[in-house]
Symmetry: D4
Subunit: 146 residues, 8 copies
């Protein structure tokens, strides 16, 4: 049995590669999917496809079309969602994707540093599990296949 | 026809009263519901009911039980969700509630200042409408009943 | 038992008033809802609330926010949808609303002139009933309460 | 990961072949499905299977049985729907299929010429993205797999 | 708390009145709904509204439009469905409505004479309860309110 | 693309083999599933597994456990349901399975002789198509793959 | 806004009256529903309606028809489920009802003595909140209306 | 056609191996999944991943995160759930999983000794079939593939 795991969350560190490599080292039968990780490309995709927009807000609106399209198609394929909250930025997309996962009955693992426990307490309660490190998430993935 | 509107988002300003008063002045047939607006009470409700917890994290976990219970019961009653993002704090609850509303097919109006357009672009695209002021949200509510 | 009926379709003739008056004359316990019938207001609502937009396309996009918001909230309340196709215009909104009604398991009555039977054959097959006049729709409504 | 894409819309130009060829040239792992593209066959399938019908309307009704059967089975298999509006005809089937896709939570890409923006504004708002050319739709498909 | 009960099944005996009278005598807070009980009207409603049809089959098809419309609207309102199988006729409508009730998660009580136990065994297993008399069904309704 | 088709209905003629052979001859990529076709085994399976039952009614109840279990598992796998009504017996199971298919959004093809049109008019209206012969059903299956 | 609360769980103590009285004293706008609390009646209802059964197992099966019918109708009406685990008996019904509540997206409050924490840990994790006393449950109910 | 079967219930006997071996001997095309069968590991997984917890209750809460995560992912994959009730322990997890299976429309087979018939009567009524031995469950599985 193979599982598909959607990796939601910040795209400024290489945590996705870390998870993929560790899962591969453990030979976990998992296919990972996730958002566009090239931040500039993610911001510009709207204008790339639709052409120049009137201003920054419309440029964002145009980009969000294709980022949401991508996320919804891939998250629908997922058996599990792992959402990581990093140290900076608003990360409202991460909260949005994590909440959508819960609403669509996709089991959710939250990775967040202890410092974020207060701001994430309600979302954390909705997640199946909240951990602080990628290694703990890998342990949870391993447990599913034992 | 009466509608129930859930007012999600920050609880540090009195925007909810502003909406309620303006809707009342316009005699819109709307019942408003929302989260606990007393921040301390919202943080302490877990220990109030379950007693002292081992540490701040468990105190938060305890509180989230009852805050989520309240939110889910009331949001289920809502025909529409209005989520306001303020100027400060992480506001991940607001993003969580707004995203849950969309996932549960509750029409969503987002209120956010222009400065937040980039961080909210994907959530904004999922909302039925994004506005910048309470008055604009009131105009949208009025339009439904015209 | 009262029913709520959403009247989808063209807003250039007064067919909605005709249905409401005839239902009232028959004392059918029905509450009617529907889209904004003032065409200009429907086209301009986006700019009225959000301010001037860069061009006609963005003006339309802005208006569609609030027209869709209105339609989804009201159609969710409906026990039945009646969609009337008139003689002119593309009327893609009418087809969109009628199809959404079917997808959301809302019984659908289609009113269309015989000349449209070919272009509407697949949608007509999805409807519970297709009639050619408002009077026939009234007969169908009456039958539900007999 | 392979995706299945349903190509809804007009069957009078060869836009489907164009998309299929361009997707193949880019080696996108996509299986395309769609409606019967032979217009006469689509109109006659009812009488072919059920025999001659009393008149043109019943002939249409008979054909719609099998066209809807085909569309619903294939659209259920789709991860994404692309709907193209051409220059002529009422194209209510296209609006019906596009709206059904949205209602069934199938991500939707709309292809329409700028001239149609007004008539399609509400449907366009429900789509994940609206573009004007097949090439732009191909760019969107490519983005999903990057 | 009031309940709405849909009374599906044969329309050739007055079992519905019997249930209504006995429920009224017990002052059970129940609103009863059901199909058109005038058999001729049920058979002719299609031609009454749509005009004469080419033959008996098309006359039946026309009538089924409005009978299904009525049944679906009323059954959606029901908290419980009671389906009675009589002694004669095919009664495929009764089996259809009873099965639809189960599929739509409407609790179902089956009333059938013992002689039908074999032909109804699978449907009976899907029902919440199978009884042989109207009085037993009344006992079940009473039990809900005790 | 392969499809799974559930063949509901009477088990006293070999119509299933006829469909399977004709689909095979046309090389249609279809997997067929269906109920237990050995009538005695279907009636006795309850006592075979659970042992002798107190009387015929309990024997039927016991058998229905396993027949419903089988049907629900297999029908869930189906993309399409074909239900054939034969000339004799009550065939309430056939009506039950056909109605369940519709309720679970499984496209349905009804095969029934013309003589049954009146008794099946409402169920026929819910089906995607109603035909009179196995050959016509095969034509419909073929059309899906063209 | 009134809420309906289903009180699942043991019927050997008068905890339901305690909750009802305390909620009444606080004037909480709550309608309480629940299972048949007369244990003998609950065990005998099957034979009361269907007559004597062959043995104790069939007597239980008969009773379960009407107990499940009652529970499903009333739980569907509930906005919230409170399930109390007592000190004795298997209480599998309580676990069944609590789990069904979660699966049907009904918020759940578990009341259980500390001694049961281990046996209930997975169910407790699925509940919105787990408390040890009726008074704590009342506090939670009160919090919803503040 | 392969099926996936989730084996819920007690983990103190080797009934799962018995089922797997007998299914293998019969060459039934079934993939079996289930909970962590190492009781200590199941109890300790929370602290293994999250570190030492304040007390036994929090240790249980921590473990339940990962046990529920595992169960929900695997049960979602199942076409059928078999739940076995053993002779000892509260087994509320078994009742919880069995009830969740029913609520999620997963066909359910209950295995329980006769002595438990009274305590399990309502859950048994919701199951598709209740048997007393693993061999009877194997017969039921075999019947599906005949």
């Amino acid at each position: 049995m193979r599982l598909t795991v959607y990796l939601a969350g910040e795209i400024h560190t290489n945590w996705r590669n870390e998870i993929k490599e560790k899962a591969a080292a453990l030979e976990l039968p998992i296919d990972f999917v996730g958002p566009m990780e090239d931040h500039d490309r993610s911001d510009n995709i709207g204008e790339e496809i639709l052409g120049e927009q009137p201003n920054a807000i419309f440029k964002d609106a145009a980009a969000s079309n294709f980022n949401n399209l991508r996320t919804e198609i891939l998250m629908k394929k997922a058996d599990l969602v792992i959402a990581l909250f990093g140290e900076q930025y608003k990360q409202w997309n991460t909260a949005m994707d994590a909440s959508a996962a819960v609403a669509f009955d996709k089991p959710l693992i939250l990775i967040r540093q202890e410092a974020h426990h207060h701001a994430l307490k309600e979302l954390s309660r909705k997640a199946h599990a909240t951990v602080e490190t990628v290694d703990q998430a890998i342990q949870a993935l391993t447990y599913i296949f034992e």
